[in-house]
Symmetry: D2
Subunit: 423 residues, 4 copies
């Protein structure tokens, strides 16, 4: 719930939507943006520094339109709204079948326990709420790599309850927001949180996907020596072609000054790694969840001391060595926690995809064009998103002649590339 | 037919193949490489500086294994061998049906006239030669964007005569050879041909695909001011995010010092553009054919004077202005014509794909796995190509734990990415 | 008075000094740093957001050690303490000679009026105070280009009252702090103040000295298109060799998105320029004083409206066009006003020069080595500053053999370069 | 004796000079340039691939204007013409005093033996030749770091026989030719000599002066991982700020793929290092003489095998390991030996300094302005050289107002910087 989101909400409202909104991250709300939207445009359930309980309470409230109300469409970011509805429907079906309520104590995952608790309480009041919701829902458009992964799994399992448009894999999202957004926001977060000089430092970037590429480029440009860790040989070879060595975390853990996780996976930097780091090494995550860094291991390490230098910047001191490491944003996304996320221009590319997807879902709501599957936007809409952003930067496109278009077998107006084109 | 090709031939030979070889470009043969292979490993029909007639004669000879002979498989680069066989079969079928011979004068395309002449002559001697060839052929693996485009057209039309593997769209080909290969070979060609200082100059790169991205990166790194022309708004936006303005050729034609075409299209720099250029502007092509630059328009311009400064470096002087422009490699691929093509390491990535494709086609020759369609190599083979090249550069990959692999739903050994992943 | 200054104060204290301190900039004090030093180490007269009157009051207080007290040495940054003493002595001499007090109304410069007022008031209480101060002073070490320029003028005029060491022209200061410090702090300030996406934007950097070089490098690396303005043909040619065009401000004023002054001169961006800028163009100064930008012209522009978006980030709206421009830090140094100045590592290079200069001045206080002139530190001390910073970055130097040292005519232990060497 | 030199000769001729010319390097003559000049403009004694005997014979011939002839002025590059005259005069004085002829066998330096032989032979014919020459000479302008070092030594010893202008330390020479020239010519030489892919490789650059900075920048931009070796802590810290680690050669010798010497010193890469290198490691020098690399040690290594792959590209195979290293240009300047030296634009900066220096020496030949000392060109001439090159690159300078000029205490027309300014 940032200023960029606020403009997205205003856009949807201007297009005729009624909007209810919550955040996708406990630290990322900009309270001034939330306040402005709450005053002018939409119901907002979000503030900076929510607890996890508050977070899920907000999510539930944002979905609650009252009797006979929506939602018709979901704009999702990380997939938590979608998750809540799917889990809600599952619980309601089980309850209808067997009368059994969900049991929050069955799960070891602390956050999922909260989800089940919320569903359980709701079920006692209204046992058909999520079922009505999914029946009404025209579809969801999802923003992130992580949320999209969940959708494809449900699609594959046949458990997806409504159509979904994968925004993340629009070229104008993943190759812009993930790459250029992070190239901007990683140094921004590092500087605001620590004021550290990046030049001359050794920085390890775990993962060389779009996010990792953006981070590595920014660190290199700022004068750091960058090392990448990778599991994927192709991405590893890309790093090498850019002059970036590829080693394992173990090779570098005692030498590097800055560690950044960008993998979208879990258990990347463990407490056993952090123990070996140099004094005042900086550890942060710009990948997806706080489980890229072993925060649980760190918090429960015997004798560890935590000194909060300022909010979202903590020094954790190991008792054996008396060396401390600096962990940003409690292991959550540091660009959102320590800075202000991605800048407006690149978010505009992402959110234009969202708006186009919402329009498309709504326009086709009765046509049967979209089944309970995951779709990406067609390439001509992806190209349209890019087109809409060229004017601001003063660009002038060349136009194909009909003859040239025929020669390379594309329409004059595009789309210009085959679906497998990688940009 | 370069030293890299020579190693490819030796590899195929070591794997048990008998090989006959020709070049894919009239200027690109390295005679010492051809001589060494001719002595030791394979029949070679190629030399630097062929005429177009000689070129097609060579292609025919490379395909001619004598009675009862091959080929079983084709390694193609640009698709000319594949074209000759398809045109040959078409002519033989027409001849069988109607007794009509191909008529070279029916086409206005000078090069295609030569193709038809060769087929016509062959038809009089052996009217079933190409038909027998296609019956025997297990398949082709094709190297280039241009060749692949032809294959997909035949695939779409249902006219493809044997299975084809598209090497170009392996990540380890298009995102390496096209990008990093050209980043290396563009300045190499410019320097060898002209000795010009790139720093400080204004350079226009027409097209910002993989080849254009490599060229723009090289020119920028060398200190040029780079401007890109593009038809595709997404690629244009990528250029802008890298600080490269996007204008039309008309905007820049009178200002720039260096012009490079990388589009894979025709009619990019016309003689009307070249007239307006500054004295001693350099014009070259690293895209696909010599028709990116309007060589015909230049050659037939009334009163134009051509001064060959050295082979592949010509100054063309316009009579009205007495200004000259420098055209490299007669408009053909300047990295092959003026330098030595792409360096071995990146060619090894491409050619490992070729070898793997040939092995796959041969292994599955009786299995029916491959129909008369175009295929890309499966991702695990693409990743294997990358893996085989990491050791040379001293890289160490990280290994997923089974738990991590499960978390992101991939096998521990890969492949690690969904098919639509863009790298 | 930042955290880096705090460490400098602690260092001087640990070396045996008693310290009194004030800031050199009304916006740059970090109050937590000032508070910590005030508690533990020294008398501090500084807070964030001083008025100009407060600023000079602080300067006077920092110099006031009471009867029989210091200072013995001055660490100066911009030269204001040195200025106050020189102006004080001048006034005292005039007063002694003619009985005339300084007349603040004689000057049109608002800030200098404050200086004269302070001196005048002091004179009435103690007419020999600055004279005693200069008699006692062993010397000053000066940090900045601007302060050094004043010193050389006084040196040339024969009016310098005590020895001065020019820290700014130590290589380890001007080629590090000015260059790499600004490469870090310019984007830092831009991001914190505006959250603007730098990629894709057009940025004009006025001046391509060390500061301008650092700024241009940072903006380029972040994906901006950079244009430089210069008066000096050599610096202009350097920009061009890096692929950066050199135009005048007038050429770019209506096109660019970001304007940065780095010149050390005045009247660089005038209100007449600002009127022509695009809506929401960003204007900031990282050069020396707020007179690089015509703040007076802006503030007094008829009908102008100022909206303070947040402290140090103001939008000024022109009545004719209703377009607004964003001015950072009220035209003062934006890296100090909008961010936290330069990071510790590079400040450590600068401040090590300061400490070495102070030690040198003190050690030689009775020897007559330093006259009332401006000196730079000898090269072996400059090299020593660098040496002290290599270990932190894990560097290993090569050692000359005696034979090699003789061959290039330098001592084995350095210094290694002639005085005119430019690095 | 390259095409750039040819234009310098034509310029001097057009200004009224009669010119005789020789090369400064046995490999660097471009025979077509020499032939054109010999036909049209001047007496030339130079060809590609001279022996050392031939080289000094050429030098002597270039200085021999016959009875009553010149030279009046010397344009020197490396200082060999100046050396020959100084040694000649020394020998003639000794001969006059004692009747003793120089004894070539007294020196162990093979090249100096040749110099003494030539002088000895000349002495028997004309015992006053060099004495008359130095009496007539108005002065020399010297191009290189190495030549300048010799001049300053003679200046310091009081043995300099005529005035000398140090061109090398004009900003428009050392910060352009040395830096940007090498950034261009190092990859050019590597590519022409070896066709090696630079991306992904580990490259050690010995020395991080102007030449080393250019080389490191080029290698980094091409995708290599660059490591620098340095003796000077300041230059080392500069490398680190650019993200380049500083280690010793010993640390990297077994790991790196490419080694480049840029030090201006001797004995940098010894045969003991070369033995430890990886198979096919590339070793080259772009610094000054062939003694940066221990060519003597390599040539005399027991059992070593040399395979000349092509002229200036040799593979040296060590008998113990059977590993070979590739040495370029026999250890001499690889950009001259393997490519065509520096491009015209940057040479034009250097040579404009030469021409201006020659004009200055000639204009002041009777004025006594220049004594037997070493001078640099005044800054306004340095700025003039830059100015003359801006138009070609389309730059537009900003003009100071008189008010601004007064504010920073410089003339409106420049020079704009103090003498110690480092650019």
């Amino acid at each position: 719930m940032t200023i960029q989101t606020a403009v997205l909400i205003e856009t949807l409202t201007a297009l005729g939507a009624e909007v209810r909104w919550c955040s996708c991250n406990i630290f990322s709300t900009q309270d001034h943006a939330a306040a402005a939207i709450a005053r002018d445009s939409a119901a907002v359930f979000a503030w900076k520094g929510e607890t996890l309980e508050e977070y899920w309470w907000c999510t539930e409230k944002a979905l609650d339109w009252g009797p006979g109300g929506g939602p018709d469409l979901i704009v999702d970011d990380g997939g938590d709204a979608t998750l809540l509805i799917h889990e809600g429907v599952k619980a309601e079906e089980e309850y209808e079948r067997s009368g059994k309520l969900p049991n929050p104590n069955e799960t070891e995952n602390a956050e999922f326990r909260i989800v089940l608790s919320i569903i359980k309480e709701g079920l006692l009041i209204d046992p058909k709420r999520y079922t009505r919701m999914k029946d009404r829902l025209v579809g969801v458009s999802e923003e992130t790599t992580t949320g999209v992964k969940r959708l494809y799994q449900m699609h594959a399992n046949g458990t997806l309850l409504f159509p979904a448009i994968n925004i993340n894999d629009s070229v104008t999202k993943s190759k812009f927001d993930n790459l250029y957004g992070c190239r901007h926001s990683l140094p921004d977060g590092l500087m605001r949180a620590t004021d550290v000089m990046i030049a001359g430092k050794i920085a390890v970037v775990c993962g060389y996907g779009d996010v990792g590429k953006g981070c590595a480029a920014a660190l290199k440009a700022a004068g750091a020596r960058v090392i990448v860790t990778e599991i994927d040989p192709i991405c590893a070879l890309q790093a090498l072609m850019e002059g970036i060595p590829v080693f394992t975390l173990e090779d570098m853990v005692a030498e590097a000054d800055i560690f950044v996780t960008t993998t979208g996976n879990k258990d990347i930097i463990m407490v056993s790694h952090m123990k070996q780091m140099k004094n005042n090494a900086i550890v942060c995550n710009i990948g997806h969840f706080d489980n890229e860094i072993d925060m649980l291991g760190l918090e429960t390490y015997p004798g560890i001391k935590r000194i909060t230098i300022k909010p979202q910047t903590d020094r954790w001191i190991f008792p054996e060595t008396n060396r401390g490491i600096i962990v940003l944003a409690e292991g959550r996304l540091m660009n959102l926690g320590c800075a202000t996320g991605h800048p407006s221009f690149v978010m505009s590319c992402s959110f234009t995809n969202q708006v186009i997807a919402q329009l498309e879902l709504w326009k086709e709501r009765g046509s049967g064009k979209y089944e309970k599957k995951v779709y990406v936007l067609p390439k001509h809409l992806d190209e349209k998103v890019a087109s809409l952003h060229l004017g601001k930067l003063g660009a002038k496109l060349t136009k194909l002649t009909p003859d040239q278009a025929a020669y390379i077998s594309v329409p004059v107006e595009g789309p210009y590339k085959p679906p497998h084109y990688r940009y």
